[in-house]
């Protein structure tokens, strides 16, 4: 166990100071993704929760600007009061995740299906780079093409390119009414086929998730309340009116509770791993995976996987499937990250572009866990 230093800056200048003062540092938000926020030997932890609060929010602009340590829950509550939401639907909000941690980990939830993921909604960033300079990229308007797109670069950057201090997002109105239909199939192939068909159809879903045990599609509709019943009817017709025993309709409070539960990604023992995927690779992967909790979201583009076995095994499995993964947390915290060489597992996509850009942002290697 690492007895590293813990710093809790409450101003941007303190972040700069801390970065400059330590050869190695690791920013941490809510600590909900322990595999990403547990320090290695020699890393000072920058607890970012002291940099918290919404700075600008005018519902008419669809733009929200907040400090990186702001809890997602706080942001979502504020937005909800104005009938709006973060369309990329970040998970782990209830467990205390922050905006900064969500961006750095690059996490989106089921509702990314409708309008896109966190990369599609981040508008601006302010961060402290490896020289200890505060720099800004992007802007605070819904559209901006000036300069390099640093906001997108920071999505998934895992604290390796800089310490995020301020973020701007595009937000949208939340649908006036929602309903969720769960449809269970006898076989995975049937569910996959239905998923393909639905995703290519003009039917619009806020969520289009696949679970495998049993093979189930969870479909969330949203929009004008008066149109919802007929849309549900059309959806059932599209699916060929599966017998009632196979479908379950969730509405109202029950529906909201269901999605809140999904957003916790709490599936008991084992590692929680994010695996970007494509629908065509699901069947192949499923043949290799043991029974367990997992969820393919956004029409088979993203897998949240509970892995009960050793990470080495998963690493090999993903490699054999040509996939890559990000370990978010494990049950034996925090020792997990010490046994992990890197939270990034599976196929190695390291390339010269990555090395070059990383060197520009972090010339002194302050944010790399490796010497």
């Amino acid at each position: 166990m690492n007895e590293g230093l813990l710093i809790r800056p409450s101003e941007v200048a303190e972040v700069q100071e801390a970065v400059r003062a330590h050869p190695k540092s690791l920013p941490r938000g809510g600590g909900t993704k322990a595999a990403l926020s547990t320090p290695r030997e020699g890393q000072a932890v920058l607890d970012m929760t002291g940099l918290s609060g919404v700075l600008e929010y005018d519902p008419a602009e669809y733009v929200l600007v907040a400090l990186a340590g702001t809890p997602l829950a706080e942001v979502e509550a504020l937005l909800a009061r104005h009938g709006q939401y973060l369309p990329f639907d970040p998970p782990l909000a209830e467990l205390g995740a922050t905006l900064g941690g969500t961006v750095a980990a690059g996490l989106s939830g089921p509702m990314r299906q409708r309008y896109g993921g966190v990369r599609d909604f981040i508008l601006g960033v302010r961060f402290v780079d490896g020289e200890g300079e505060v720099v800004r990229g992007g802007g605070k308007v819904v559209k901006n093409a000036a300069g390099f797109d640093l906001p997108k670069l920071m999505v998934g950057s895992l604290g390796r390119l800089g310490v995020l201090v301020e973020l701007a997002f595009k937000v949208f109105p939340f649908p006036k009414a929602t309903a969720t239909l769960k449809v269970t199939f006898d076989r995975l192939e049937e569910a996959l086929e239905a998923m393909y068909k639905l995703a290519s159809s003009p039917l619009e879903f806020y969520a289009l998730d696949l679970e495998t045990n049993p093979a189930t599609l969870t479909l969330r509709l949203g929009g004008q309340p008066e149109a919802l019943p007929s849309r549900l009817e059309r959806l059932r017709a599209f699916l060929g009116h599966p017998p009632d025993t196979h479908t379950l309709l969730l509405e109202g409070e029950k529906e909201r509770d269901y999605w809140r539960f999904v957003g916790r990604l709490e599936w008991g023992h084992g590692y929680l791993v994010k695996v970007p995927i494509q629908p065509s690779r699901i069947a192949g992967l499923e043949r290799e995976l043991p029974a367990g909790m997992r969820r393919y979201i956004s029409a088979g583009n993203l897998l949240y996987l509970n892995w009960p076995d050793s990470i080495e095994k998963l690493d090999n499995l993903l490699k054999s499937q040509g996939l890559r993964g990000l370990v978010l947390r494990g049950d034996a915290e925090p020792a997990v990250s010490e046994t992990l060489k890197s939270p990034l597992i599976g196929v190695d996509w390291e390339h010269s572009f990555a090395r070059r850009v990383t060197a520009a942002l972090d010339p002194h290697n302050r944010f790399s866990p490796n010497p």
């Binding site: 720099v135 800004r136 093409a145 000036a146 390796r160 004008q224 520009a360």
Partner: protein
């Protein structure tokens, strides 16, 4: 032919290595004709390998280069570097793969935007980003400029629809950025590359995401007797919680031009036209249309039309999309700006632009993406009148500063290029710019790719310490 050029001649047959004045002159400008520069040569590669060899040649001889798609950049993005190489990618225009089940298309960079949707149409799919230049502009150019269109607010820009790209870096290395999935892990390298204005290398293969075609469109055209009322209508639509696919405004000058160009049947007496489009599932759109109808009815429009079929919808959009070029009918020359302001400041910005227009004595036509606060003031001038170009540029500069001071951006989609680089410091601090430049140099140490663009004071920096360039000594290139 000098030795360096004859070396290039080993990569290209003569018909794809252009060096004669008659061949070079047409490449001197993009859609911003206020700038022009004579390249050393133009090459027209047809394969990735030729691109790699060309970049290698440029790196060896330290010759700057510019990639060019269709040359429709409005900010001088594809303006040649004086004495540099133009790499024309319009012949790399194949559709490499279309996978309707996975809803992706893989194209070469010279593939035309609209052709993607045309190819996807038989499968009920389309490619969402729709810059007005979509019948002409290439995916490579769209990628470099992160081009947007009328439907950005809801579905985003090019960057939100590019899944992957194969890129030849300025060092000659080939890298694959992104993947075929909508998601990724690790930093979003592709996100950084898209919109980098050709400063980080050349995309030779691009993977695009396709969307199912909306089942129904509901396109409303509302005429107002003032720009302000149209602007307020936009605010009212937003406040109602509706999220239209597009909200566009045109003022009377733009209406006049568009009408003359394509006879869209716009009400000619309007001071401002608002186009609002809803799209999606039929029952949902029908429900939203009722709400929208109420909002528009209360907004003071004196005439409201709803497109009854696909033809009427196409006509409404044709006028809007032709508006830029059509302004050429009103004036021999114009400059287009595309600053962004917070939506709530639209009215203020328009008033101020009107005032500036009067102050400078130059007409300004406005067509803009009202939904995103993305203005497109077209500053009309006559280049034959001495000093008018300078006046127009000064006016353009004031508009940019205005956008920044209202909390917006100097460009929403046309990019910085040559034209707006001097205004970057209005938006970014020294430290911001220094970092961006550091990234640029890390990727392109000699700053060969599209040298002189995006960054203020960025002319030939790497050259200075190296003394005169070999080609310069040979009298092939020169600096002024």
């Amino acid at each position: 032919m000098n030795p360096a050029l004859s070396e290039l001649g080993r990569i290209y047959p003569p018909e794809r290595l252009l060096v004669q004045p008659g061949q070079l002159v047409p490449y001197e400008s993009d859609a911003l004709t206020a700038f022009r520069a004579r390249p050393l040569a133009v090459v027209l590669p047809e394969t990735t390998d030729e691109v790699v060899q060309t970049i290698g040649w440029c790196a060896r001889h330290k010759v700057p280069y510019v990639a060019r798609g269709s040359g429709t950049s409005l900010s001088g993005g594809s303006l040649p570097v004086e004495g540099g190489l133009v790499i024309g990618l319009n012949r790399m225009n194949k559709l490499l793969r279309l996978d309707p089940a996975e809803r992706v298309a893989v194209v070469q960079p010279g593939f035309i935007n609209l052709e993607v949707s045309n190819a996807a149409a038989p499968y009920g799919l389309y490619y969402a980003p729709d810059p007005s230049s979509q019948p002409v502009s290439t995916i490579g150019g769209n990628l470099a400029f992160n081009s947007g269109g009328a439907h950005c607010l809801k579905y985003g820009m090019t960057s939100n629809h590019v899944l992957g790209a194969k890129v030849v870096l300025p060092t000659g290395e080939i890298v694959e950025l992104g993947s075929q999935s909508l998601e990724g892990v690790g930093p979003d390298w592709l996100g950084l590359f898209v919109g980098s204005e050709g400063l980080m290398g050349i995309a030779v293969e691009v993977t695009l995401r396709l969307l199912p075609k909306p089942e129904k469109y509901h396109t409303v055209l509302a005429a107002y007797d003032s720009l302000e009322k149209a602007g307020n209508a936009v605010a009212a639509v937003v406040a109602s919680g509706l999220l239209p696919g597009a909200m566009e405004i045109m003022d009377h000058l733009a209406i006049e031009a568009a009408e003359a160009a394509v006879k869209a049947g716009y009400p000619m007496d309007a001071r401002a036209l608002l186009i609002v489009e809803l799209e999606g599932e039929a029952p949902e759109v029908e429900a939203e249309a009722r709400h929208l109808g109420d909002v528009i009815a209360a907004s003071g429009a004196y005439e409201v039309r709803v497109a009854r079929d696909a033809d009427e919808r196409a006509k409404i959009w044709k006028g809007r999309k032709a508006a830029f070029s059509a302004v050429g009918r009103l004036s021999p020359d114009y400059l287009v700006q595309d600053g962004v302001v917070p939506r709530s400041k639209l009215g203020q910005a328009l008033l101020e632009i009107e005032r500036l227009s009067q102050q400078y004595g130059l007409r300004v036509a406005n067509v803009f993406h009202a939904g995103d606060g993305n203005l497109h003031p077209l500053i009309l001038y006559d280049g034959k009148v001495k000093g008018q170009l300078e006046q127009a540029e000064a006016l353009a500069g004031e508009i940019l500063k205005l956008c920044v001071s209202l909390g917006g951006s100097i460009t929403g989609e046309h990019g910085v290029g040559m034209e707006k680089k001097a205004y970057m410091p209005a938006m970014f601090s020294q430290a911001d710019l220094a970092l961006m430049r550091r990234i640029r140099r890390a990727v392109d140490p000699d700053e060969l790719a599209n040298r002189g663009k995006m960054f203020p004071h960025s002319e030939a920096p790497a050259l200075t310490p190296h003394g005169p360039h070999p080609l310069e000594k040979a009298g092939v290139i020169w600096r002024e």
